[in-house]
């Protein structure tokens, strides 16, 4: 049976949030969701509308860019749906699934991408607001990822609430969370990790009812990711470790 790498675990489990017929968006600074959307197009039999921050609508890019906002992501597109268009689509309720970045996530699925420490005296100044504050509360579902699963990233209390509204899903190298009763609940864990490990490495308490090891990648998921990253360049750059 095929096994997971840290990178394939994140990309594939992000792709598994994509549903038939939905409008699905990937943005800036978002290589794993960009890969997830392209993987879903190759691995799943259903259709969905893939739009992205490069203005692409159902694009057929001739290559996979290092930058998830590269204009090649609009290649083959039959329209340019520029920034104001996809934000307005989101705030009027037309964005079914939106992938958004986060530095810290709390148990309500709120995010901090602004600063570590006090905003006015930051230990680390992070990239900042971006799409979150507007898209997280208005997208039908938003999903984020973290390449590090720790009490620093999955926190009891955010240093700053950049965006509220609650993630519908969070994928880390060892776990997949979904929203249940307004809070993040564990859906599944990496088969090489354990429920106890996920609990020990998470800063907030969560419901784990019904959670189980994550199903292995399908042959088509494995093949789709390999076709997107034949040299393992993205996998290497992401350098996602289980522990």
């Amino acid at each position: 049976m095929p096994s997971w790498s840290g990178f394939s675990y994140i990309v594939t489990n992000l792709a598994r949030f994509i549903r038939p017929g939905e409008v699905t968006f990937s943005g800036v600074n978002s290589t794993p969701p960009m890969m997830a959307c392209l993987l879903a197009k190759r691995a799943y039999d259903f259709d969905f509308t893939y739009i992205n921050v490069a203005g692409g609508v159902q694009p057929t890019p001739s290559k996979i860019p290092l930058s998830s906002s590269d204009p090649v992501l609009a290649e083959g597109s039959t329209a340019i749906f520029a920034n104001e268009d996809f934000y307005d689509l989101c705030t009027r309720g037309g964005m079914d699934l939106c992938f958004l970045g986060a530095a810290q996530v709390d148990g309500l699925g709120r995010t901090n991408v602004s600063a570590i420490g006090d905003w006015h005296n930051p230990k680390v100044r992070l990239p900042g607001g971006g799409g979150g504050a507007v898209m997280l509360p208005t997208a039908r579902r938003a999903v984020t990822w973290r390449t590090e699963h720790s009490k620093r990233t999955m926190v009891e209390k955010l240093d700053f609430i950049t965006a509220a509204g609650g993630m519908a899903g969070v994928v880390t190298p060892i776990a997949v969370f979904v929203k249940r009763d307004g809070k993040l609940a564990l859906e599944s864990w990496h088969p090489e990790a354990t429920l106890d490990e996920v609990k020990a490495r998470t800063g907030f308490a969560f419901d784990a009812g019904g959670a189980k090891p994550t199903p292995a990648p399908s042959a088509r998921e494995v093949e789709a990711l390999r076709s997107l990253d034949p040299q393992g360049r993205f996998e290497g750059d992401a350098s996602v470790a289980l522990r």
Binding site: N83, G129, G131, G132, G165
Partner: protein, 271 residues
């Protein structure tokens, strides 16, 4: 008629210290980077930079000490390079003032200016600490839906500076691929400066006027700088020069060496 067309240095000479500049493009893509480097060469000071997703531009301007304030949504080098290091240091050491936005709240402020109203409603923002941080107000729907809406005060840059594919001698401006946030910037700012890859004929624009993003009467200055978005991309002409960005990011490297490699200098040397 043709006095709008000028050299890059003449264009930058029109920018006073302390000006508020909206810069087009996004991260490493189609930014007015030759213009930004010329700001540094001319020693501009106390600039306010307005951009939803700045990266290289805000970083190099912070590195050279040209910035007083940034009004931005998300700041990063992107494309595997992570945080913008000199910008980050400038904020952490309080060398610049940051007004942190969501990309769409910044856009709402620009829309207010573009629409000629003092503030502009924006969707979302509910539950975000950004609202209190920026002292944004929320208003109840005056028409009785019961919904509360956040409103953002107008943001009116002095000059929108965009990097475009083509202009004509009148100033009409075309962009290929996504125009990112450039359209609203050009409607919000008091003046529009365009740096373009190429000068095209008026006739060519007359054939497909629907491709023109900015009409000539809104443009005050143009300059032709091939490869001017270097080390970023300009679709469909060239991609990001990743080795050059890596060199820029190398803290052991000098800013002078990086600027000396820029195409606008190479052009001048050949002229």
């Amino acid at each position: 008629m043709t006095q709008k067309l000028m050299s890059l240095s003449e264009m930058v000479e029109r920018v006073p210290n302390g000006a508020s500049l909206a810069l087009g493009g996004s991260f490493l893509h189609r930014g007015p980077f030759a213009f930004v480097r010329e700001l540094i060469r001319q020693g501009k000071r106390d600039l306010e930079i307005v951009k939803q997703s700045p990266g290289y531009d805000i970083d190099i301007l912070c590195r050279a000490g040209c910035v007083k304030k940034a009004r931005a949504g998300i700041v990063a080098m992107e494309g595997n390079f992570g945080l913008a290091p000199w910008y980050r240091k400038a904020v952490e050491k309080k060398q610049i003032v940051l007004e942190e936005h969501a990309c769409m709240t910044l856009t709402a402020g620009l829309r207010a200016s573009a629409f000629g109203v003092p503030f502009q409603p924006v969707g979302g923002v509910h539950g975000s600490d950004l609202a209190a941080l920026n002292k944004w107000a929320s208003i109840k729907d005056p028409y009785g839906s019961g919904e509360d809406v956040w409103v953002i005060p107008a943001i009116k840059p002095d000059i929108a500076v965009i990097h475009a594919n083509e202009v004509n001698e009148l100033g009409d401006t075309r962009i290929y691929g996504t125009y990112n946030w450039d359209r609203i910037m050009t409607r919000a700012a008091k003046q529009v400066f365009v740096v373009a890859e190429k000068l095209d004929s008026v006739e060519s624009f007359q054939k497909v006027p629907e491709l023109t993003l900015v009409p000539s009467f809104m443009v005050q200055a143009m300059s032709i700088v091939p490869n001017g978005a270097w080390p970023g991309s300009c679709w469909p002409l060239y991609e990001v020069d990743y080795p050059a960005v890596e060199e820029y990011m190398d803290t052991a490297g000098s800013l002078e060496a990086h600027k000396a490699r820029a195409p606008e200098i190479a052009e001048r040397a050949h002229a």
